[in-house]
């Protein structure tokens, strides 16, 4: 399997705050890489044979690429607003396709069943109509006007509320979620899922958040997000087929899956196929 067009994209490979002079080893699309902080405070990422890879620092993480990215790392302007707390949730390894990890993040219908009494609850299982588009100028997948009833939408939420969501896929293994901010109505909380593809069926997931919440201790914010993501992990590791099917015939989408359909279509259009299954088997 060749890496294809995904080779020239940016991927998260570590928390900036955790990379020091001792360095750390990891894997990117099957290639062993090492990252460390130089004496001058610069982050260096190298392959095993000493090839220096491009590096950018952004959204709390170190990003690199095996290829030559022709655009900068996607921006999240909302996360730069003053007064937000930036939450480094830390890495979680998942035995699944990196594309499956993103697709699951985009799915709303599973909330009542996997995140019961937190992000959803029976009988409030209906996914109302929402809008999905591939924005040509930005070259991103967007889902907007998503609404869902949530018993405890965030650590700062006191009770059940109908939460508004927007989903955005700015890169093949990254998703940014904007959701109603209980502490500051009118603003969006930013919750991201950055996925590092280790292989086509193994990934390290780096959730990261930029929230308006001056009350909740940082550890509780971290744990809330870890709880949510770890509820997904056991589901992700049992999905079949292991790679994300991009051709019709393998899985039957429903209205609730519109974002997933658009994501798959966008992946296919760009030949973003690392972790994908191309022909229905």
């Amino acid at each position: 399997m060749t890496i294809g067009a995904m080779r020239d994209e940016w991927y998260p490979v570590g928390l900036r705050s955790k990379v020091d002079a001792n360095g750390q080893q990891t894997l990117l699309m099957g290639e062993p890489i090492r990252l460390h902080e130089s004496e001058g405070g610069e982050i260096v990422v190298e392959t095993a044979d000493g090839r220096r890879l491009p590096v950018v620092i952004g959204h709390g993480h170190v990003w690199t690429s095996l290829g030559q990215p022709d655009k900068p790392l996607f921006a999240i302007p909302e996360a730069d607003q003053p007064g937000r707390r930036l939450v480094e949730v830390g890495v979680v390894r998942v035995r699944c396709s990196p594309l499956r990890a993103v697709e699951n993040f985009l799915d709303i219908a599973h909330f009542p069943f996997v995140h019961t009494d937190i992000l959803g609850a029976e009988p409030h299982t209906e996914v109302e109509r929402y809008e999905v588009e591939i924005r040509e100028h930005e070259d991103e997948v967007w889902a907007t006007k998503v609404k869902f009833y949530q018993p405890q939408a965030a650590k700062s939420a006191a009770g059940g509320i109908t939460t508004d969501y927007m989903y955005r896929v700015p890169a093949p293994t990254c998703s940014v979620l904007y959701k109603t901010c209980p502490a500051r109505p009118g603003e969006w909380d930013v919750i991201t899922l950055f996925v590092q593809p280790l292989t086509e069926e193994l990934c390290d997931v780096w959730p990261w958040m930029a929230l308006y919440d001056d009350v909740t201790p940082m550890t509780d914010l971290i744990h809330f997000q870890q709880m949510i993501f770890l509820q997904d992990r056991s589901i992700l590791e049992n999905q079949i087929p292991r790679r994300l099917p991009l051709d019709p015939g393998m899985e039957i989408p429903t209205r609730a899956d519109l974002t997933s359909v658009a994501y798959r279509r966008w992946l296919k259009r760009h030949n973003y196929t690392y972790g994908a299954q191309l022909v229905a088997q």
Binding site: L15, V89, V91, R93, T116, E122, M218, H223, L230, Q231
Partner: protein, 221 residues
Amino acid sequence: MKLYDYILSPSCYKVRLLAALLGIPLELRAVDFHPGGEHRTPALLALNPAGSIPILEDDDLRLTESAAMLVYLASLKSSDWLGRDTAAEAARTEQWLSFAQRLTASLGGARLCEMLLRPGDLAALQAAGIAALRELEAALVEQRLRGERFLVADRPTIADIACFPYVALAPDGSVSLDPYPSIRLWLRAVRALPGFIEMPGIHRLHELKPEPVHGAEGEPA
């Protein structure tokens, strides 16, 4: 009663689970175990020099071993849960409380390697975990032949709570539970207990599924 807690820690979950089953309220103090490593900071080491969580405080009592916490909670509320009705039952309960440490070291170690990228010999941890699961499966088969659904009796005890979390989370360390039908029935029986609470990776029973009926499963026709 204050529990120094981590939402992803199976050992902390043992205490939360038994407290929920017994109806004992806990004050939870979240410890940033991952990625912060707070359990190894001076403040936490002052409470527990072993650098582990959970830590349970109640007035002037401070406990740092989850088995001791289970004994304490059960002793406060219900002698049924202590598993001490007979000499043999008491001894078997102690046996399982010690066995639970093997589960922590093996299946728990494999889970930390696989999930949170902690260092360790994954293959050796998984092999030790599988050996422990085989032993548990054999014991649960014996129990079922005796007509008992749980580890030391036909009622749940702290022995079940001590062993349940690391077994239920074995797949997190890429150890499958598919080969162990008696373990799976036992996990289901624990999840069906009134007042059961979940943790990430251990899902509650879905209401649409029928409750397991005692004696109906696995017995020859």
